[in-house]
Assembly symmetry: C2
Homo-oligomer: 146 residues x 2
């Protein structure tokens, strides 16, 4: 996987995050790529769905499994614009995800703050891809709210 | 809340777990009770839905929010036959659940094994309610699989 491929797919995840912003949801977007093919795109929909579990990653994992017809995402990469929370990290664990690429760091509720390996040992992790762009969207959201 | 009320509602969760067993799913069941009313019942459906996120607790939290028309479950109790995993504990955190009552302990992937407070500080936790009945169902499932 070349770095510019990661940027390309993270760009698609950012577009999802931008859609969330348009709909006044916390702007986080995700895409799942399996063997060079985008199999799921999603953005945070906790407000419109009245569902705290409707994070971008959760929707993307469920959607990817439907598309490929299998529960496990061993040969897939999940791109998400913000570091996953504990709930999403747990889902990523169960999915046996091959590779996780995230953008901005989530200091408060990001999974890595737990200081323990909560992901599957086989899941490769890359962070910081287009992090600034992700943070810009989040800042825009929270400044709108003030 | 009287102890026998907890047993009563956990009995309903066990019935959900028994349904999972009938459908050859790992037998875990959950119910959500808000102000004396059952607002959601669910059982693990990861196989039938081809979805690793379809744990009983996740489905119950989503369903409860739909029933009461609100994302947060501050005045609700979630009864689940097995200790929630990290994913479900994360969802319970986001739901701001008032009270969590679980049955059997999950040594490997239970949230409490993390040794940190992963739940919301306001969520009251009770464990061990009808734990043996829950374990019996789980043992039956795993013996069927051998």
């Amino acid at each position: 996987m070349l770095p510019n491929e990661d940027s390309y797919y993270m760009g698609l995840a950012l577009r999802q995050a931008a859609r969330a912003l348009e709909e006044e949801e916390i702007p986080v977007g995700a895409v799942v790529v399996c063997q060079g093919k985008v199999v799921a795109k999603a953005y945070n929909q906790t407000e419109i769905l009245t569902d705290v579990t409707a994070h971008a990653e959760m929707l993307a994992i469920t959607s990817a499994a439907q598309t490929i017809g299998a529960k496990y995402l061993k040969d897939c990469t999940l791109y998400v614009t913000l570091e996953p929370c504990l709930m999403c990290a747990g889902a990523i664990y169960w999915s046996q995800l091959g590779r996780l690429v995230y953008g901005a760091t989530e200091e408060k509720r990001g999974f890595s703050s737990l200081g323990k390996q909560v992901l599957h040992p086989k899941t490769e992790v890359v962070s910081g891809i287009l992090a600034e762009e992700s943070e810009t969207l989040l800042k825009e959201f929270f400044s709108m709210r003030r």
